[in-house]
Amino acid sequence: MANDSTATSHPKYHLHHFVDAEQQFDSAKMGMWVFLVTEILFFGGLFAAYIVYRAWYPDLFTEASTELNTLLGTINTIVLIGSSLTVAMAIRAAQLNKTKQIAINLGITILLACAFMVIKYFEWTHKFHLGIFPGEFYTYEGIAHPKASVFFSIYYLMTGLHGIHVIIGIGLMTWLLIKALKGEFGSQYYTPVEITGLYWHLVDIIWIFLFPLFYLIE
């Protein structure tokens, strides 16, 4: 098979160093999963910090989490779940050659991701207004616990790193949307939609854990 690759015509997305488009697709997907492993361990360091500090100061976490708005957190969780659903819908549309639906679903995903960041913006600016900043810049006096700033340092680091991932996701989805509008995706080739989808679902999974760990402590 490998020797006659120059003789046969093959589609432009099929790179010559892969046996066929199927192997190319599987390799791209596996590569993305390896990247997601590094992402999990990247966030893992912060989750470890959370666990260490919560074990040291359990009362601090119960007390400080009351400053977080459960309603906004719940809305954001639902928004992200919805965006995961529309990404999965976009992949299905690509598999079925429904080009218009790919673009519609990607468009809704971008809007939901932006809605998530807008809500996050309001949550953060409200805290800044109260003087709840990370680390030594913390000036809020509404929480009696002497280590109150520690909780919010971890909160800002974890939701901030997650927010950066959402912003990168918006960029990737916009790139996909432009390609989708040019009609570049179909059942024969949709690898970028598939692997960006995997990234987006991981961002959703990270939030699924951040939400109860910060907003639902009792």
């Binding site: 599987d26 492993v37 260490v52 659903l85 819908m89 299905r92 598999q95 699924i208």
Partner: protein
């Protein structure tokens, strides 16, 4: 390209609906004020179940090559090692270092 799993609308909407209900459930459970160890156990149990639904049906691991599932699980094993060995130190200090 043959053999790619195409999820039905029923599966996708079913998983999305389940995630929505589980989100409302985990918020609702908070107001039950469960006694100490149970609140975090139930909250993390629901979160792990939700994450599994996303991984299996949105990320397609259910139908995918098992190798990708192994990659995901290996990351969790190494995360466990990170947390486990860190706690062996931090949980057994005679006193917390004041600057921490």
């Amino acid at each position: 390209m043959t053999g790619h799993h195409i999820s039905t609308y029923k599966t996708l909407l079913g998983v999305g609906g389940a995630l929505l209900i589980l989100t409302l459930l985990t918020v609702g459970v908070r107001y039950l004020h469960l006694p100490h160890p149970w609140a975090i156990i139930v909250a993390m149990g629901i979160a792990i179940f939700k994450a599994s639904l996303v991984a299996l049906f949105f990320m397609n691991l259910w139908w995918d090559k098992r190798f990708n599932t192994m990659l995901l699980l290996s990351s969790l094993v190494f995360f466990g090692l990170l947390v486990g060995f860190t706690l062996l130190d931090t949980l057994y200090r005679p006193s917390i270092i004041p600057g921490f």
